[in-house]
């Protein structure tokens, strides 16, 4: 432990550290921790996600103290938070927009991992833990959206919980079990509140595992090559603490702009109508961060069976559910689908383009998901779904064999020490602008 404070303090610290080496640990993992010297701003989003998680937990705790998890009181208690509770409006808008920003940050973090091959050996478990965090986040966000008990809360929950009825044989029992009744009602709202409260702490635990796995081999970097020695790394503090702090400042400016000037931009006006079990809104849309998955769910509108026999193996509904969950499972399997030894897309001329097609496809799917399931949209969703699955199941395995990567630099520090700085900087200029 750095002991530049007064000696009594450092004495106490030493006494504790001898018995519980927590200070040594912190020093090791957050101070000295050797980090590749060439990380770009795309590497800010991991720590940013951690900070947003803290913002969500703190704002959520305070909101939970004012919220009433019953169908009779939920909607009104949220309005009370907005009108009567001191700073309640701000806390709720922080929490509400924080969810959206959490997903923005995490999605960028995931795309960064896909572009620079951060999922490749030896970081497979790190990557899978990340997908686990994403799935937990999706569950938490979904249940959180139910709590205000507006029209979108009720009907979004109805649609999503009904997904489980697609499971053969036991599906309907599972749905009844999830609901604790025959429709979404008070028991459902109560348990969703409990899980919405619980899951963030599970996320914290998985984040710790994620960091543990990260610190085993350290961060990947824009070149995607391993550090050859100490000259390739710099201590985390102050170099990356200051870089992360700067990124955090930029993030907070944008976040505050949303909270204070367009807090409802990413929400849906129908959720300010109290839940009504007898009227479905004309157009149910989930929150924007679920839209690509929602589009894939709706893309399968046909039964899958043996042609010309009329034998149905997978009903359309189950097909949609399999495709939706499959899209997440494929993400987790990326380390085994992409066997190319080159991590960074900078040195993979074909993969680079495929990556951007995939990224655009995700945005395209999101757009399809927001559109009504009529006319051309189901077909376009199907097209987008095929591109999504094609990226993982065809492009990744094929490119592993077929693509001829560009020559890799000898080391991370080589271009820097040669004085050019051209390789790390120039080749990816469009990427560096965060």
């Amino acid at each position: 432990m750095a002991s530049n404070g007064n000696s009594t303090v450092s004495g106490v610290v030493k006494w504790i550290d001898h018995r519980l080496p927590i200070f040594t640990f912190m020093q090791h993992e957050t101070h000295d921790y050797p980090t590749p010297r060439n990380l770009s701003y795309w590497w800010n989003f991991g720590s940013l996600a951690g900070i947003v998680l803290v913002i969500m937990i703190v704002s959520g705790l305070v909101l939970a103290m004012q919220y009433n998890p019953s169908t009779a009181g939920a909607f009104d208690s949220v309005e009370r938070i907005m009108r009567d509770v001191n700073s309640g409006w701000m806390l709720r808008y922080i929490h509400m927009n924080g969810a959206s920003f959490f997903f923005i940050v995490v999605y960028i973090h995931i795309f960064r991992g896909l572009y620079y091959g951060s999922f490749k050996p030896p970081r497979e478990i790190l990557w899978i833990l990340g997908v686990v965090i994403l799935i937990l986040m999706m569950g938490t966000a979904f249940m959180g959206y139910v709590l205000p008990w507006g029209q979108m809360s009720l009907w979004g929950a109805t649609v999503i919980t009904n997904l489980f009825s697609a499971i053969p044989l036991v599906g309907d029992y599972i749905v009844t079990w999830l609901w604790g009744g025959f429709a979404i009602d008070n028991p459902t709202l109560n348990r969703f509140f409990v899980f919405h409260f619980l899951l963030p702490f599970v996320i914290v635990a998985v984040v710790f595992l994620h960091l543990w796995a990260l610190h085993r081999f350290g961060s990947n970097n824009p070149l995607g090559i391993d550090a050859k020695g100490p000259q390739d790394k710099i201590p985390f503090h102050p170099y990356y603490t200051v870089k992360d702090a700067f990124g955090l400042g930029v993030f907070l400016i944008i976040f505050a702009a949303a909270v204070f000037f367009f807090p409802n931009y990413m929400g849906h006006p129908d959720n300010y109508i109290p839940a009504n079990a007898l009227v479905t809104p004309d157009h149910i849309v989930p929150e924007w961060y679920f839209l690509p998955f929602y589009a894939m769910l709706r893309a399968i509108s046909f039964d899958i069976g043996i042609p010309f026999t009329g034998i149905v193996i997978i009903e359309a509904k189950l097909g949609g559910v399999i495709v939706m969950f499959g899209s997440l499972i494929l993400l987790a399997l990326a380390p085994w689908l992409d066997r190319s030894p080159v991590r960074s897309a900078r040195f993979r001329p074909i993969y680079k383009w495929c990556f951007w097609v995939f990224a655009l496809d995700c945005i395209f799917l999101g757009y399809c998901g927001a559109m009504p399931a009529e006319g051309i949209w189901p077909l376009l969703s199907l097209f987008g779904t095929i591109v999504y699955f094609g990226f993982f199941l065809i492009v990744m395995p094929l490119l592993s064999v077929m693509e001829r990567p560009k020559p890799l630099p000898a080391s991370i520090s080589e271009p820097v020490l040669k004085g050019g700085g051209s390789l790390a900087g120039a080749t990816a200029k469009p990427m560096e602008k965060a």
Partner: protein
Amino acid sequence: MSDAVKGEAGDGEEHGGSRRDFLYLTAGAMGGIGALAVAWPFFNALNPAQDALALATIEVDLEPVEVGQSITVQWRGKPVFIRHRDRAEIEAARDIDWETLPDPQSDSARLVEPPPPEQTAAVAAVPDADFLVVIGVCTHLGCIPLGQKPGSDKGDYGGWFCPCHGSHYDTSGRIRKGPAPRNLAVPEYSYLTPTRIQIG
């Protein structure tokens, strides 16, 4: 664990080894059963409680429902659609080859016959099974289909249309187009009189 395995592999007749295995397995199994037995009440606590299970039955008077009119009643927290179909709607439901539908069911299989007309005077109000009674919950993902109010979208087959994911139901509540796998469910109901039904 490794001791037990070794004992078994080393000598089958050695009673010490196999006895230890036996104890290990039975103790483990009992522990497992005990854990499951304790887990069950926790799992089951999430199932519908007795008050939710207490089956509500409702009675609906069909007499005021005019031909072409639809009403919605709430039963077990779900909407039940009751439509007094006109001739054209009944013919549309019957003049098709129902065996080719996604969820093959004939129109008459989806109706409960009212008691024979001679019993009461209100005969004329109800000719043969004009009333269609279905649970108004889309079998895809549980939205409430449109088509109950005059002027609302009844879909391509004149029945109901679910706006969530574009399922079209016909005038018998059968799925004709879209992602829903099954026809709108017919609740358990019976005619108390020719113009009065009990649902549940």
